[in-house]
């Protein structure tokens, strides 16, 4: 949706509220996804939808109503429902008034070619990936997804435009493209993926080639004993672990409530000196929104600098508690979760994952991890499985496939044991390098 159209809808809502304190958020767009498996297209979908969320403030009370009827009648009904929700609830003593107008950095995230890419073009690219798998006698499975706007991975909708009755207006439109491919040979598998704001770098054939090579190397995996290993984690694996860490660690509310490993440790050294981690939607490999769900400008925030805990990320509420400014990481108000860092950037080194492999005498190469979950929040101990390519590294070379492991590993401990890093990539919603890590805890084996 164009800026003027979005603004007109939000302005109409503010005007229909007839002077009430009101915040209006519009989100949505299009999500088109071609899914393939067994070397054919199995699902092929496109959705177009928008959602309007209206929040009314009456003194220290606030309530929200959400709907997708964007007609004048529909908007009026939403305002009525939000007012009703607000009227019936007790006061929130710490509720903040709406913010006034803000200034935002522009992010060049809208790629017209990506926005208009159709099902035929997606099918052609999928066809190239499938052809590689067929040639190798493997089964290809994956997706080619193209989005414009703010529909999330599970259909959740983020803010595309926000306005309020104090004159704030924010708008950001971006595109994204993702191509993922798995190549399967019975229980052996390989995987490769690419993500960007633009389809221009998508190469289904090249990705499929990588997945096929990994699957071929995975055949006849040997069983290694569980234990602590030196591992090379490819960027996709690192990203998954960092995302989970972020959800339970980097928001200011978590820190304030004592639930984060950073609680009471800001200013202290908590990681190895080679670890610098920030949240930065303006990084060219992210191109995220320049504002949060309160309409506050997002400020790039250094979370860890050379191993020292520097800062959590803040929304207005948690910032007010500490007498500081929001960093623009808030969710829709009110909420029980607090702010979230969603554009992580881990500083990397130079060279590729293959350079990390060369440094390992005996260890494991982890392509990606799967089904991670939190075992212990204060140590950021996660469990999960290796997947789609676990390999032995012996004397600097990948030698054979290894049966997958379950790991139970503290990410804090892991980031204290990083020997080397590759160059950064965009993977799994994070910008990060591959890591060479010592003492990674593989706790049990599985059957493949």
């Amino acid at each position: 949706m164009q800026k003027q159209e979005a603004k007109a809808i939000l302005d109409r809502a503010i005007s229909l509220a007839r002077g009430a304190e009101i915040e209006v958020m519009l989100g949505g767009g299009t999500d088109a996804l071609t899914r393939f498996a067994n070397n054919e297209i199995t699902q092929n979908v496109e959705e177009r939808r928008y959602l309007l969320s209206v929040r009314i403030l009456q003194g220290k009370r606030t309530g929200r109503a959400t709907g997708n009827d964007l007609s004048e009648k529909g908007i009026a009904r939403l305002i009525e429902r939000a007012a009703e929700a607000t009227r019936h609830q007790p006061e929130i003593p710490d509720l903040l008034p709406l913010p006034g107008p803000q200034r935002y950095r522009q992010v060049d995230a809208l790629d017209p070619e990506t926005e208009s890419l159709g099902a035929d073009a997606r099918a052609r690219e999928v066809g190239k990936a499938v052809a590689r798998c067929r040639e190798a006698g493997l089964e290809g499975a994956g997706i080619y997804e193209v989005r414009a706007g703010t529909i999330g991975d599970y259909g959740e909708i983020g803010p595309l435009a926000i306005a309020n009755s104090r004159g704030l207006f924010a708008y950001h439109m971006g595109t994204s493209a993702e191509f993922l491919v798995s190549a399967l040979d019975g229980m052996a598998s390989g995987w490769a993926g690419y993500e960007s704001h633009s389809v221009r770098g998508v190469d289904g054939s090249a990705l499929s080639k990588r997945a096929v090579e990994k699957a071929a190397r995975s055949r006849g995996p040997k069983a290694w004993d569980p234990g602590r290993y030196t591992v090379v984690l490819e960027p996709a694996a690192v990203a998954d672990l960092l995302q989970d860490m972020s959800w339970i660690s980097f928001g200011a509310l978590l820190v304030q409530e004592g639930r984060s490993f950073l609680s009471g440790k800001i200013g202290q050294k908590v990681m190895g000196e080679n670890i610098t981690l920030s949240d930065d939607p303006f990084h060219p490999l992210h191109r995220g929104s320049p504002f949060d769900a309160e309409g506050m400008p997002t400020v790039p925030t250094t979370i860890l600098s050379r191993g020292v805990a520097k800062s959590a990320v803040y929304d207005r509420q948690t910032a007010a508690k500490e007498g500081r400014e929001s960093t623009g990481h808030g969710l829709p108000v009110p909420n029980t979760y607090g702010p979230i860092a969603r554009h992580l950037v881990l500083e990397g080194g130079t060279g590729g994952v293959e350079d990390l492999i060369r440094r390992v005498d005996r260890g494991l190469l982890v392509t990606r991890v799967w089904y991670t979950n939190v075992v212990d929040p204060k140590t950021v101990t996660l469990t999960g499985m290796t997947r789609d390519g676990l390999f032995a590294i012996e004397k600097g070379k990948v030698t054979h496939g290894v049966r997958n492991f379950r790991f139970n590993q503290s990410v804090v401990e892991m980031l204290n044991q990083v020997e080397a890093m590759s160059a950064q990539e965009a993977a799994g919603g994070v910008v990060c390098p591959g890591l060479l890590v010592h003492g990674f805890q593989m706790s049990s084996a599985t059957e493949f």
């Binding site: 092929n44 496109e46 979950n373 997947r387 049990s444």
Partner: protein, 482 residues
């Protein structure tokens, strides 16, 4: 809305679809949260839209829109056909739908007291009473409670003559207390982790003893901070119903989804170790283990009149006397296991997403005896309660769960509370070690409301009934050995 669904399938057919169905859905929600004496969220949600699914040259296309004008619907249907044509442009086996009569029916879940007619004051009053009970306990850092209501009103029309109107209402809620020390975070929840929902009206909320349990749960969260760590080793464990429900969900439900078995989820959720040759041959569990899929279970979250393929709800065995016998199927895939009718397991989480195989209600049938009988029979072991985390590999062999607490059992009695209990195993070995399942008096429906699957991701809600059960010589304490 029904006229729009009709327009959609007529348009799709005119554009060349050999089959089309349309789901026109109005969804109403109400979500209320209270945290530490304040409203943490209050959102009244409504959305309406239409999803059109077509077969063109034997390949699927799907398009969804919230533009409910005549032009908008026609564009959406035309788009679905174009997408289907693009799907067909790659070499493929033509989709064959198992036959199903074109049902014409109206179906609604039971709802004695419409939750959307109960005032917000009444709901907030309940949440604040729960909240104050929890916060009366010293040491509770976060008291969080919620209520959630949803109504889905759906028309399903197909070019095969189906004309089905369904209304599903569900109500639920729950609460948790979190206690924090400098090096520990402990949580207790009620009635289960992430709350508990049923396909009922507000009468379900009124019948659930939230307030009566709030203080106990809060006290247990604080007590966990000073409880002993659950030691690592091999122990006999008893899983209470809600944890067992998630165990069923992850290690039985997902691996029996036929789309996973056939590789259609390979890139994301994974495949399954329950490959076709194992049906009727694999001793999945001990002879005590009987698991039944049932889309007709009263008040359950995945109970319906008809699935999103238009197939009537059914009940059938998945594991009988320990033997793996059944899959969760669709019209598209039933023939792959030699069946001439779908079991009716296709659902979507909204008008905007394509229907796919999702778990229906899947329950462990009760054995005999009370929980006290089971404890007495156990001697020494661990009773694990309420899920805290979960993980399982992409073929569904290796799992690991953590519960909020464990009770150490000695000589048949609960002797002390242990914190951070984890257990890990391999699916078939674990279910074959089951040697005691409590009886019908201990059997309850539990639920999962956050089951993710598919690309784009979809969230499903499923009920799993279970009574406490015992599993022998299970690895416990994983992740806390050092």
């Amino acid at each position: 809305m029904k006229d729009l669904a009709r327009l959609a399938i007529d348009t799709a057919q005119a554009r060349g679809a050999s089959y089309a169905d349309a789901r026109a859905i109005e969804l109403t929600r109400e979500d209320i949260q209270v945290k530490n004496g304040e409203v943490g969220g209050l959102d009244l949600g409504a959305s309406a839209g239409i999803g059109v699914r077509v077969l063109v040259q034997g390949a699927w296309g799907f398009s969804a829109t919230d533009d409910l004008t005549k032009d908008g619907i026609e564009r959406c249907a035309a788009s679905a056909v174009s997408i289907g044509r693009a799907s067909a442009s790659l070499e493929h086996d033509a989709v064959r739908l198992a036959p199903e009569p074109g049902h014409r029916a109206v179906w609604a879940s039971q709802c004695a007291k419409d939750p959307f007619q109960v005032s917000l004051e009444t709901k907030l009053d309940l949440l604040f009473r729960i909240d104050s009970e929890m916060r009366a306990v010293q040491g509770v850092k976060n008291a969080e409670s919620f209520l959630s209501f949803q109504r889905k009103h759906q028309y399903f029309l197909s070019t095969e003559g189906a004309d089905i109107e369904q209304t599903l209402t569900r109500s639920g809620g729950g609460f948790s207390a979190t206690a924090v020390s400098p090096d520990d975070v402990q949580r207790r929840s009620f009635p289960q982790a992430e709350g508990f929902h049923q396909a009922l009206g507000y009468e379900f909320i009124e019948a659930t003893p939230y307030v009566q349990n709030a203080r106990r749960i809060a006290e247990e969260s604080v007590a966990l901070l000073t409880a002993e760590q659950c030691p690592a080793g091999e122990r006999d464990i008893i899983l209470e119903g809600s944890q067992l429900a998630l165990q069923i969900h992850e290690s039985v439900g997902h691996p029996t989804e036929l789309d996973r078995v056939l590789g259609m989820e390979a890139n994301y959720a994974g495949t399954s170790f329950l490959t076709l040759e194992k049906q009727g041959k694999l001793q999945f569990g001990s002879r005590l283990v009987n698991l039944v899929a049932d889309a007709t279970l009263p008040h359950a979250l995945a109970t319906f009149g008809f699935d999103d393929d238009g197939v009537q709800a059914q009940r059938w065995p998945i594991v009988r006397d320990g033997l793996f016998v059944g899959y969760l199927t669709s019209r598209e895939l039933a023939h792959r296991v030699g069946e001439d009718r779908s079991k009716g397991c296709v659902r979507s989480d909204g008008w905007f997403h394509i229907p796919m195989i999702r778990m229906v209600n899947l329950s462990l049938m009760p054995g005999s005896g009370s929980l006290e009988d089971l404890l007495a029979d156990t001697g020494d072991g661990l009773l694990m309660e309420t899920n805290r985390s979960w993980s399982i590999d992409q073929l569904r062999y290796n799992f690991q769960f953590k519960t909020e607490l464990a009770w150490e059992i000695r000589k048949g009695k609960r002797v002390r509370m242990l914190k951070n209990p984890t257990y890990q195993g391999i699916t078939t070995g674990f279910w074959n070690s089951c040697d005691f399942i409590c009886g019908p008096e201990e059997w309850k429906p539990w639920g999962v409301t956050n089951c993710g699957k598919g690309q784009p991701g979809q969230v499903a809600e499923i009920t799993h009934g279970a009574a406490p059960a015992r599993f022998r010589k299970v690895t416990v304490g994983v992740g806390y050995e050092d």
